[in-house]
């Protein structure tokens, strides 16, 4: 399917009930992202970055507004439909890696395919692991890998289902300086090779500047949307 916009966000608002009344963490956020583009969402803690990422990726429902992901409007979908959309179009890289501790590196990479019922693609997963430099560690469990290695497995897993869009939540937040640099390069390299749209949330302005656009949030509202 050919789409003009990979991610279209319209007047997105998210409000949570709280003891002191309704708490609006995101208000009237709109933007549009074409296929293959890269966008960094930056802002101070509590500005709504992660909430926005979660809503864009279909991990939560907005209080109002719409999100269209790869041409599919996900706001009205139920949780299982959104899960299907994520499996079809989305890749994730989390700050805390989020590998499944009971699966080996190879098995972690295979999960998105197995969820689709696709078997016999171990070679592909192995190739991806080799691509991220972990070809020899495929049968290791997460606990046997360093933080940087775990994040590389997560990157391989994010690309195994050939996603149209990759969401990264502080992908280098838990890594030391050198490892973070190497990881950043790898994310952009692989993303370039695979042609996916990239949305990443970060505090790191240096990392943000590697993206084509930077969306700045403060108190849940967009304060700037600039091209680098």
């Amino acid at each position: 399917m050919s789409v003009q916009s990979m991610l279209k966000v319209e007047r997105l608002t998210k409000t949570y009930p709280s003891a002191g009344g309704a708490l609006t963490v995101l208000r009237e956020v709109s933007f549009d992202l074409e296929p293959g583009a890269s966008l960094a969402i930056v802002g101070p803690s509590g500005s709504g970055k992660t909430t926005l990422l979660g809503l864009c990726a279909g991990l939560d429902r907005p209080t109002s507004g719409q999100v269209a992901l790869a041409g599919e409007t996900i706001g009205d979908m139920d949780e299982d439909e959104r899960a299907r959309v994520r499996n079809d179009h989305v890749g994730f890289v989390f700050q805390n890696f989020q590998l499944i501790p009971t699966l080996t590196a190879l098995e972690n990479v295979l999960v998105p395919l197995e969820l689709r019922g696709e078997a016999g693609r171990e070679a592909e997963a192995q190739a991806l692991l080799t691509r991220v430099g972990l070809g020899a560690r495929s049968d290791h469990y997460p606990i046997q890998l360093s933080g940087g290695e775990q994040q590389r497995v997560a990157l391989a897993r994010a690309f195994i289902n050939t996603p149209k869009i990759l969401f990264c939540d502080e992908p280098t937040g838990n890594l030391d300086g050198d490892t973070a640099h190497a990881m950043t390069d790898l994310i952009f390299e692989v993303n370039r090779e695979r042609g996916a749209t990239l949305v990443l949330v970060t505090h790191d302005l240096e990392l943000a500047r590697k993206c084509q656009r930077i969306l700045r949030l403060r108190s849940g509202a967009v304060i700037s949307d600039e091209r680098t």
Binding site: G54, E79, R86, E114, L115
Partner: protein, 842 residues
């Protein structure tokens, strides 16, 4: 599906040992059900296979009095091969053992009984010598060892000497359990008369056994003759009848024990649910990642449901294997109780039932902690605070609760044919668990509210563990308290009953009873007992009689009336009534006026009747009863109703006549006296039996021994089943502590990091487990006291006893078990360096 199975298998890798440990909670519950079910199938099979040996004949006809010529003619008309037996209680004197005496059941035999099965003796030829009519006796094996009797020794029965030729091993139709009440002594019928024991008034049972040609339909014969049997006041027993009775008995016992076993399964399932709850909490991150990667809510849930199913299946299959092993041990446990041999085989139907019940209950309970998985938000992967969303109220939980109630009720209904028992079981189980859980919550609340804040740190930390978030207090108190409750209730009930019987001989109450005293023997007996230092404290004349009319209708009419709810035994039995002028110390008049002597010219004799009998016979004040007093009709009316304290070892009666009516009727006596010691009792009994051989004696010690013997057997079997619950409680305890171990690992490590010594950590654990043990045992004992008091009051109609030794023993045992299990389950946490423990955590 493929993904679900694959993921479930892979995800369980690091936790399989833990999941297997959780599954152990249901192992014993399933094992109990399988063992009981399969053994019950063995018993039913044995009944079918040894049907004829159950009775030893095709038909047994019995009468409580010597057969009338009419009855004799009737029995002869039935044809077939016949054998006769006369049995009654009497005293045996072991002449070789210093003249010791013992109340026994004397059986005089003639004819070829048993026609089916074997009369087994040791040595084997003893039964043959009996049949040849020699002056020999075969005696109960227990008597041989108890009184050190060897073949060739002499015993005295009445005025005759008999040579013991062997010990009784088995005889068809009776289990060795009957020997608990009264050990058997067999002699030839031809030697009975010379003993002089059969006097008027002896409580004798006459039995005739028949063997018919195979083509004779005995059931049809009995159906045809049912009316005649009643008219002749004969009882009958056929192979089919015996099979039905035994089968029904076994089914009842099976149902009861299955329900006891089910309690263990239920407790185990709660343990599984609790462990899974902790397990699932640790899996929320994985579920969230799966959701992010595109797994639907139900798919993620299914991954863990499959693990729950696998766990249940593993536990159930292991339980079935343990159950089969236990089944191997059961025959030796019930040896001597069953009147037949049992061959061992595994009943696959029982195994399937046990495994099925285990799996269903386990999965239902597992669903409760698994349901929240459906609601884990994928957002948890990026924000852990969303984990609480899964804790919102879920209507599906109520569906699962309802399914659990239905499953428990269905199981109980399935085991027992009556739905009332199913409902009763669910209510009883709910109340027991509810009370224990409620008390546990109260304890946790009180620990938080009232524990002094200035107490030493290790005490405060130990107590704080009882009410901390995610505490296991309710589960642990449930697991330990329930087992304590069951075992202590049994022990207290036993103690209450025995104490009550012992209490009846307190002070100067009689504790030695003589019966079968003839009219002309009461005087000599009185003199003899006075000389022996045990003067008669109470005596009563006994006149035998039967009821011929009840409220104007003949007994036969009432018996034939199908709408009548009067039990037939009340109409057919021979009544042993007395006459006296006053109400005895063991009774009180609850209705009407007791008439002590007859006013001259009274036509209808005013009698006093015992309350329960009056209720059974639907008799009220003023109702008329006609008695047949050994051939003489006597009109009576109910003048008073008495409550009788039957437990006291004194002459008590259903029906009491006033003085001035029965004095001239043929009668015999019972008399009661008091002896100070067992040695005095033996001496007095020997003197009486030596002088008046037909008089039998029973003393309180013998009753206590008999009662204790019966109670021991029953208690042992029930306790054996209750032990499954206790052991399940310990496993649940270990499982809960182990799952708590994972929960508390960080805290312990933190304490270690902050400088807590191994000793301090150990003290904290000891305080916590000691408090749990004390609370569980106190709550369990409290419930047991209430239950045994209720049993005493409503079932045994007496006062419950307070047995400090039993309660203290229970508290010490439970606290010890809790401490040992707790410390063993937590070993390793305090002895490893913090970093090592942290690395072990998964």
């Amino acid at each position: 599906m493929r993904f679900i199975l694959k993921m479930a298998w892979r995800d369980s890798r690091a936790s399989r040992r833990r999941l297997a440990l959780f599954s152990l909670s249901i192992v014993l519950g399933v094992a109990a059900l399988v063992a009981i079910g399969s053994f019950s199938a063995n018993l039913q099979h044995a009944i079918e296979g040894q049907a004829k040996g159950l009775l030893g004949a095709d038909l047994a006809v019995q009468s409580r009095s010597a057969l009338t010529p009419e009855a004799k003619a009737f029995l002869e008309s039935l044809g077939g091969e016949r054998a006769n037996e006369v049995s009654f209680s009497s005293m045996v004197v072991f002449t070789g053992s210093g003249g010791q005496t013992r109340l026994i059941s004397l059986r005089a035999m003639e004819g070829g009984y048993p026609f089916y099965g074997e009369f087994l003796t040791d040595p084997k030829d003893a039964a043959g010598r009996l049949a040849r009519g020699e002056a020999v006796a075969v005696i109960e094996e227990t008597l041989m060892s108890q009184y050190q009797v060897k073949p060739g020794d002499s015993i005295k029965l009445g005025s005759s000497q008999f040579t013991v030729v062997g010990a009784l091993k088995t005889i068809p139709g009776e289990s060795a359990a009957v020997a608990l009440l009264s050990p058997r002594v067999f002699i030839p019928m031809s030697r009975l008369a010379e003993t002089g024991l059969l006097g008027p008034g002896s409580l004798v049972r006459y039995k005739t056994y028949f063997k018919f040609p195979p083509e004779r339909d005995v059931e049809a014969l009995v159906r045809d003759l049912r009316g005649r049997f009643r008219e002749l006041r004969l009882g009958f027993d056929t192979v089919e009848e015996r099979k039905r009775e035994l089968g029904q008995g076994i089914r009842n016992v099976y149902a009861f024990l299955s329900l006891v076993g089910f309690v263990a399964l239920f407790l185990g399932a709660i343990g599984v649910a609790s462990a899974i709850h902790v397990y699932v909490r640790q899996k929320i991150g994985t579920v969230a990642v799966l959701r992010c990667l595109g797994a639907s809510a139900w798919r993620s849930f299914a991954v863990y449901l499959v693990q729950g199913l696998g766990l249940g299946l593993f536990g159930a299959l292991l339980g079935a294997a343990v159950g089969v092993a236990v089944q191997l041990a059961l025959p030796s446990l019930v040896k001597g109780v069953l009147p037949f041999d049992v061959d061992f085989f595994v009943s696959w139907a029982a195994v399937a039932r046990g495994v099925g019940a285990g799996l269903v209950i386990c999965v239902l309970f597992t669903l409760l902690p698994l349901l929240p998985i459906r609601r884990v938000s994928p957002l948890v992967a990026i924000r852990s605070s969303f984990a609480e969303a899964a804790d919102r109220p879920d209507p599906l939980r109520w569906v699962v609760y309802a399914a659990i109630v239905v499953a428990v009720a269905a199981f109980a209904w399935w085991q027992t044919p009556r739905w009332q028992i199913g409902v009763g079981f669910v209510v009883a189980l709910g109340v027991s668990f509810g009370v224990l859980a409620g008390m546990a919550r109260a304890v946790a609340w009180m620990a938080r509210r009232f524990f002094p804040r200035r107490a030493p740190y290790v005490w405060r930390q130990g107590v704080a563990n009882l009410h901390r978030p995610n505490n296991r207090t309710v589960l642990l108190l449930l697991a330990l308290g329930l087992g304590t409750f069951l075992i202590v209730t049994l022990a207290l009930t036993r103690a209450t009953l025995l104490a009550q019987i012992q209490g009846t001989s307190d002070g100067n109450r009689p504790n030695l009873l003589f019966f079968d005293i003839q009219d002309d023997q009461i005087g000599p007996l009185r003199e003899l007992l006075a000389k022996e230092g045990a003067p008669i404290q109470a005596q009563a004349p006994i006149v035998t009689m039967r009821i011929s009319r009840l409220k104007g209708r003949t007994v036969e009419q009432v018996l034939k009336d199908e709408t009548s709810k009067i039990p037939s035994w009340t109409l057919r039995r021979e009544y042993r009534s007395t006459y006296r002028g006053t109400v005895a110390a063991t009774e009180k008049v609850v209705e009407g006026t007791f008439v002590g002597s007859l006013t001259p010219g009274t036509e209808v004799t005013p009698i006093s009747i015992e309350r329960e009998l009056a209720k059974d016979m639907q008799l009220a004040l003023g109702d008329t009863v006609e008695f047949d007093v050994q051939g003489v009709p006597m009109q009576t009316r109910v003048a008073s109703i008495r409550e009788v304290e039957w437990r006291r070892l004194e002459p008590n009666f259903f029906i009491v006549f006033p003085e001035g009516v029965l004095e001239s009727a043929p009668k015999f006596f019972v008399a009661a006296t008091r002896v100070a010691t067992p040695a005095d009792s033996a001496r007095v009994q020997q003197a009486v039996v030596g002088a008046i051989p037909n008089v039998s004696a029973i003393d309180l010690t013998l009753i206590l021994q008999t009662l204790d013997g019966i109670f021991s057997k029953v208690q042992f079997v029930v306790q054996f089943m209750a032990l499954f619950t206790v052991a399940t409680g310990v496993i649940v305890l270990a499982g809960a502590i182990l799952s708590g171990r994972y929960q508390r690992l960080r805290e312990t490590v933190l304490l270690r990091t902050l400088g807590a010594t191994r000793r301090q950590l150990l003290q904290i654990q000891m305080v916590e487990y000691a408090i749990l043990g004390v609370l569980a045992s106190v709550v369990g004992c409290g419930l047991a006291l209430a239950a045994s008091e209720a049993m005493a009051r409503f079932v045994f109609e007496t006062k419950g006893g307070f047995a400090p030794a039993i309660l203290a023993g229970a508290v010490i045992s439970v606290v010890s078990v809790t401490l040992v299990t707790g410390l063993l389950s937590n070993r390793g946490v305090a002895t490893h360096p913090p970093l090592e423990v942290l690395r072990q955590e998964t």
